[in-house]
């Protein structure tokens, strides 16, 4: 994320300032290298056009995230919580390219389940190819209607089929597509709102998570009592005049 990139750059810059004529690498000696006000905040998601998704892809994801987490009396669904925005911004960043993962081949066709992720496809490729294959499937099986145009029962049945591997898409593993969207939807719904999802901290309110308050000594001191303070995020909360 942006913070670490900045720190890497700082480290790289230090090579040229602190080490003239000596080994390249950050040298620390005689004092802690701490600087006042030095911190590495995560970049906050900004509203605006899609950074990676196409409009058609975003329409499909809006429909999917609202079935995974439907809107109801417990709070907003995935769409209004911002899960699609979250997914788009994550796909546009280092996560979307698996930038930090080990992506050298070979990639054998028959890994053991215990060996975990063994696909060469990045999340960006998984979404692009998987949603295209889902579009082809819907076109063929629902008389030309796309996923967002299906009834909620049809949507739920199709999603359950993808999850279980019972619905076969042409040229793409439906379970991989479901798994990617499911994981990212839950991340978006429960991550700090600065990443574009969890609007109004709806996910945190659903599970009673107070967010970033960081001090619960009073809770420990008063066992078996309901916690009543509203959640707080890295950017504050609405009552503090902060958009969340």
């Amino acid at each position: 994320m942006a913070g670490s990139t900045r720190r890497d750059l700082l480290a790289a810059t230090a090579l040229f300032t602190a080490f003239a004529g000596n080994a390249l690498g950050r040298t620390v000696s005689k004092a802690l290298p701490w600087q006042p006000n030095e911190a590495y905040p995560a970049a906050r998601v900004q509203p605006g056009p899609w950074l990676y998704l196409t409009v058609a892809e975003a329409t499909t994801i809006d429909a999917i995230v609202d079935r995974l987490i439907p809107p109801d009396d417990l709070g907003a669904g995935g769409k209004d919580a911002g899960c699609t925005v979250f997914i788009d911004r994550q796909l546009a960043g280092p996560f979307g390219g698996h930038d930090w993962l080990y992506m050298q081949g070979p990639f054998p066709a028959d890994p053991l389940p215990s060996q975990g992720l063994q696909s060469p496809l990045t999340p960006r490729q998984q979404y692009r190819l998987g949603l295209a294959a889902l579009g082809v499937y819907c076109q063929a099986n629902f008389a030309g209607r796309q996923f967002a145009g299906l009834t909620v029962d049809e949507q739920d049945k199709l999603l359950a089929g993808l999850e279980k591997g019972e619905v076969k898409l042409t040229g793409f593993d439906g379970r991989m597509l479901f798994g990617a969207i499911y994981a990212n939807t839950m991340e978006g719904y429960f991550a700090d709102p600065i990443y574009g999802g969890n609007a109004g901290m709806v996910g945190w309110k659903l599970v009673g998570f107070p967010g970033t308050r960081y001090d619960y000594r009073d809770v420990i001191a008063n066992p078996n009592k309901a916690y009543t303070l509203p959640p707080v995020g890295l950017a504050g909360r609405p009552a503090w005049g902060q958009p969340t």
Binding site: R7, A42, Y214
Partner: protein, 588 residues
């Protein structure tokens, strides 16, 4: 082109707990010490800032503080007949990176192993006969006893400020502590943490079942504390962001809070970060290390000569560096020969999650080491005769966090998504709590580490290959413990429970534990150990190797307390013996 730097007395590879303690104690004697760390410098104010650190997505899910698999991963298979493939995304365990290492991102549970653990092979054979030992086991007695390590455990606990209650002071059992523990010379430096409602229920239920619960020893401090190095810590606030995170409160013991402020005052110490040691270079006869080679961020290669080389990386990477450098004979399971990579072990996890009707556990009010444990079923604290397995587990009611991306349990039978899931996750919130069993893993002929024949790191060096699976002995033990946990969870008042058993092959996907041990074990016989009892390489006497890689097999406890004790034990040998007369401290 490699450039050669002026020689140092001591080069330390990796600046975590073991590296920083060694660096401080050796620099205090006036030696020129350089620590070379492949990750970045990290400090509390900048990197664990309270305005940025409670961020589950960034640190808990995307794993910003950890080693990136792109830089180095490990290949994995369950047995030698399979083809290992790289762990492309960390899951089962999470190797750290940067200054502080695992001591920065840990939960802080700081145990001593039990006296029996150090002579488990002899003990089990004496009590039950050799037939109780599992097939193809490599179980070995440690070359040190609990009594020898006791002062060093004590020293580490006082550096870290550990919060706990003694159960055995000089042989006298103490109320409120662990009656099974080995005798300790004095109390913990700080009192135990305050426990939550779930832990109170557990303590009551476990006591009714004849168990002996006690607050587990914690590196999240219950009170302000200044350690013998003059470093000060503040009380834990139960924020629920320990493991995978740095602590913004200076409350979790780490190299940052406990060692580095003192270390940086030593004028003969220097740290080089973002520099990865690629090899320890040996003399032509292979008996002496002469230097280390490292690569900086720019890809420039440097050679740092030194008289003494301390390998202080995470255990797994200690083993890989030894294999890449030719320090010790690589282990070969076909002939059951060689020592480097031998006896890799891990830990079992099993237990029961209880769902309650009327309770407010406030699970988010948590700390990495908050918890009440019972050791009645650990090590050989109970009769193994009827069970047919070796080893045991610490049974615990703990709340380390309730961060909602990663941890939001729902009762068994709940769908994974949709309206019913949403209702269930809402209704369960704050009403679930787990009883867990963290168990030992013995060592076996076919659980080992070597170099992978196919996959390489970005510098072209082979990745290490891990061949590991749980064996019948561990499955039996862990599943028996799961039933014990479930009994306690039900006795606590759970309406229904989800029992978590050890089934199927070990998988890299779900997080389990970062208690990877062995691969460069200590012992009295150079045919079955890479290191002698002082953690000195049998083959290259000016190389010492710190860390859990030295464990002959793993016990039912978190490793850091023992890693810290072994570090001070080895330090005493280096200061008291080696530096006066460099050479092998034990004759092979």
């Amino acid at each position: 082109m490699t450039r050669r730097l002026p020689s140092k007395n001591v080069v330390i590879i990796g600046l975590g707990w073991t590296g920083s303690i060694m660096a401080l104690e050796l620099a205090k004697t006036g030696l020129d010490v350089v620590a070379i760390e492949r990750g970045p410098w990290r400090d509390t104010a900048a990197d664990f800032n309270i305005g940025t650190t409670p961020d589950e997505l960034r640190y808990g899910i995307r794993l910003e503080m950890f080693l990136r698999p792109k830089q180095e991963s490990i290949t994995m298979r369950n047995n030698p007949t399979q083809t290992a493939l790289p762990i492309r995304r960390w899951g089962s365990f999470l190797p750290g990176n940067g200054v502080g290492g695992a001591g920065m991102h840990w939960n802080g549970q700081t145990w001593r192993f039990l006296p029996d653990d150090f002579r488990i092979r002899s003990h089990m054979t004496e009590r039950y006969g050799a037939a109780i030992l599992p097939a193809d086991n490599h179980i070995q007695d440690w070359p040190v006893s609990y009594e020898e390590l006791e002062p060093h455990y004590d020293r580490f606990e006082y550096i870290a400020g550990i919060s706990g209650k003694a159960g055995n002071l000089k042989g006298r059992i103490q109320p409120g502590g662990n009656p099974f523990e080995g005798a300790r010379a004095r109390e913990y430096p700080t009192p135990p943490m305050q426990q939550g409602y779930a832990q109170d229920l557990f303590a009551k239920a476990a006591t009714e079942k004849g168990m002996h619960p006690f607050p587990r020893p914690s590196a999240n401090l219950s009170a302000a504390y200044t350690n013998p190095y003059g470093c000060s810590m503040a009380p834990c606030t139960y924020c629920g962001f320990c493991e995978r995170f740095g602590c913004a409160n200076y409350s979790k013991a780490s190299p940052q809070t406990c060692v580095l402020p003192a270390l940086l005052q030593e004028p003969t110490f220097e740290a080089r970060t973002n520099c990865e040691v690629t090899k320890v270079n040996l003399s032509p006869d292979g008996k002496t290390a002469i230097s280390v080679t490292y690569v900086d961020l720019q890809g420039e290669e440097w050679e740092q000569p030194a008289d003494l080389v301390l390998i202080c990386a995470f255990g797994l990477f200690n083993v890989r560096l030894m294999l890449l450098s030719g320090i010790g004979k690589p282990y070969d399971p076909n002939h059951d020969e060689g020592v480097v990579g031998r006896n890799y072990a891990y830990q079992t996890g099993s237990g029961s999650t209880g769902f309650f009707e009327n309770a407010q556990f406030n699970t988010f009010a948590a700390a990495g080491s908050l918890g009440v444990a019972a050791d009645d079923y650990n090590s050989d604290n109970f009769d193994h005769g009827p069970h047919g397995f070796v080893g045991g587990a610490s049974i615990t009611s703990a709340h380390t966090n309730a961060r909602p991306i990663g941890y939001r349990p729902v009762p068994p039978g709940t769908p994974n998504w949709g309206s019913k899931w949403k209702r269930a996750v809402h209704d369960s919130a704050g009403r679930f709590t787990s009883v867990g069993a963290q168990g030992s893993v013995m060592s076996y002929r076919n659980n080992y580490l070597d170099l992978d024949p196919t996959y390489k790191d970005p510098l072209g060096r082979p990745l290490m290959r891990m061949t590991f699976d749980y064996q019948d002995n561990e499955r039996k033990m862990a599943n028996w413990m799961a039933d014990r946990c479930d009994e306690v969870a039900r006795a606590m008042g759970a309406k229904n429970t989800q029992v978590n058993r050890l089934v199927g092959p070990w998988s890299v996907v779900p997080y389990q534990t970062t208690h990877n041990t062995g691969g460069a074990v200590m012992g009295n016989d150079p045919k079955t150990s890479a290191l002698n009892r002082y953690l000195q390489s049998w083959d290259v006497s000016n190389v010492f190797v710190m860390g859990a890689s030295a464990f002959p097999q793993n016990a039912g406890y978190n490793p850091t307390g023992t890693v810290g004790a072994l570090t001070y034990w080895a330090l005493d040998a280096i200061l008291g013996k080696y530096l006066k007369s460099p050479g092998p401290l034990v004759q092979a």
